[in-house]
């Protein structure tokens, strides 16, 4: 085993709590297990602190009304109970931690009530879950995704979010100083939340064309297939795919 591969094992042990308990790791006896465990717990708290502060920033602003700061869960027994199962960067762990945050913030009583609060929490939770997953740190080639005759495929983890309130209209206002909580228009919106290969999360309003293409793009159908099955013009499919690719929701496979 190369030193680089060994370093990967150490990194995995720090990130992956179940792996730390495995014979594969323990039999190597590479480091003091108690020190490794303590450092891993420190890293887990730091890892999720950064993500909660970033993805639940609107709930943080509203904490003066709800009395619930999202990151407070990191000091609670419910988070400590998750530590033995956490795998930093995994979608399941992100879902579990974000779920704790939502439950904690929801239990705060806002006066006056914020009508779109549930939507907001679902939005923040979705952002945090979509961000999770392996990412590309280095491009092997020129970094340009394959297109041309390749077949588009919806990226795993891309989420569609149906909301009762038009959150994109109110989110920027929440980050500005306010005395009364800004209103969100009560009209249904559907959002697409996707992540680039490099881990950047982006959100856009989802059109019917977007929903159709996300549903159909399985890595086997060509652009013409998609146009025919979705009942769209090829130019419309091409333009939609370009937007979805930039968002990180669709990638092109080059296999046959």
């Amino acid at each position: 085993m190369t030193d680089r591969a060994l370093q990967d094992l150490v990194i995995r042990a720090l990130a992956d709590a179940p792996f730390r308990r495995s014979p594969e790791w323990r039999q190597r006896a590479l480091a003091d297990p108690e020190r490794v465990e303590r450092f891993a717990r420190f890293l887990a708290r730091h890892f999720y602190f950064e993500r909660i502060v970033h993805f639940f920033k609107y709930s943080t602003v509203l904490a003066r009304l709800t009395g619930r700061r999202p990151e407070a869960i990191l000091g609670q027994p419910a988070f400590a109970a998750l530590l033995p199962s956490l795998v930093l960067g995994s979608r399941d762990s992100a879902r579990a931690v974000a779920g704790l945050v939502v439950a904690h913030v929801k239990n705060g009583a806002s006066a006056p009530p914020i009508p779109y609060h549930d939507d907001l929490l679902r939005y923040e939770q979705t952002m945090m879950v979509v961000e999770a997953g392996p990412r590309v740190w280095r491009e092997a080639g020129n970094g340009q995704p394959a297109t041309g005759n390749a077949q588009p495929q919806t990226v795993q983890g891309t989420a569609l979010l149906d909301l009762a309130y038009d959150l994109p209209a109110v989110l920027p206002k929440l980050l500005q100083p306010f005395t009364t909580v800004p209103d969100a228009p009560a009209r249904p919106v559907r959002l697409i939340v996707a992540r680039s290969r490099h881990g950047r999360v982006a959100v856009a309003k989802a059109t019917d064309a977007i929903v159709s293409i996300l549903d159909l793009a399985d890595g086997r159908k060509t652009l013409d297939d998609l146009a025919r099955e979705a009942g769209l013009r090829p130019a419309e499919v091409e333009a939609t795919l370009q937007g979805l690719t930039e968002l990180g929701a669709v990638r092109f496979s080059t296999g046959s």
Binding site: Q7, L43, L88, P134, R138
Partner: protein, 263 residues
């Protein structure tokens, strides 16, 4: 030797205070400025800015995208040097990521990797490269040499600058049961360009001290005062705290106390 510049990190939530502050010579930039940061234009106009962003881990070569990002940030800041860390915090396949600085194994293989990749990065930058030491909370038995030996060989092979993080040295000494000044003496201090000074507090998970966005203790300031006398090429000392929980008072007072300790 020209007087040491004393500075801090740019904390965007303290933009207003930093834009108006006196007694700060430079600001290190850990993140690019946000597009909606109202204080950024004034900060950029007022201060010497040091690029201290995550550029990549030099256990692997930086790809073209990362190099271009580093170059464009360096140009934006007009930075006098570009900083990176001796870190290897994500697996090669990208599956696991610690999201926190973590040192490489101190082995021949990693030395070769870091020397090769630092030399390649240095050749693509218009400013000097400096590299910061990273503490380990535990030793990995596979390491072949002590951190200071590994660093000495790295700097000899690359001639890049050394960003000496003193709290990191202090922590390494603490967890190895050594006196910080004795441990520091092992490091290649002749390469130091910049020093970091910060506070440490007890962490509940670690059950011991660790880096925190806190004011440096008197002991740390005395350590810094002693260290700078051994670093003939040092140009700057930076209060190393970057956190939403950091207050303007703590930042300004820390810079003032560092300046007084080094006077």
């Amino acid at each position: 030797m020209s007087p040491l510049k004393i500075g801090a990190f740019y904390n965007p939530h303290l933009g207003r205070e930093l834009a108006e502050a006196r007694g700060i010579d430079h600001l290190a930039m850990a993140d690019p400025p946000r597009a909606d940061d109202p204080w950024w234009p004034k900060i950029k106009e007022r201060y010497t800015l040091l690029l201290h962003d995550y550029l990549g881990q030099l256990s692997e070569p930086l790809d073209e995208r990362s190099i271009q990002r580093a170059r464009s940030l360096a140009e934006l800041y007009h930075t006098p040097w570009v900083a990176e860390h001796f870190q290897c915090l994500h697996t090669e396949d990208g599956t696991y990521n610690l999201n926190y600085v973590f040192p490489p194994l101190y082995t021949e293989e990693f030395l070769t990797r870091f020397v090769t990749n630092a030399n390649a990065l240095k050749a693509r930058l218009d400013q000097p490269l400096v590299m910061e030491n990273i503490p380990g909370f535990f030793d990995v038995r596979h390491s072949q040499m002590a951190e200071p030996v590994w660093l000495r060989r790295f700097f000899a092979a690359t001639e890049v600058g050394f960003l000496l993080d003193l709290p990191h040295v202090w922590l390494e000494a603490h967890y190895h049961g050594a006196r910080p000044t004795d441990w520091l003496a092992e490091f290649p201090l002749e390469h130091v360009v910049e020093l970091h000074v910060a506070g440490v507090t007890t962490d509940a998970d670690l059950e011991g001290p660790w880096i925190a966005p806190a004011e440096p203790s008197e002991e740390m300031l005395a350590f810094a005062a002693q260290a700078v006398t051994r670093c003939p090429g040092a140009k700057a000392v930076t209060f190393d705290a970057f956190s939403p929980s950091l207050t303007a008072e703590a930042l300004l007072r820390s810079v003032e106390r560092i300046r007084a300790a080094l006077a």
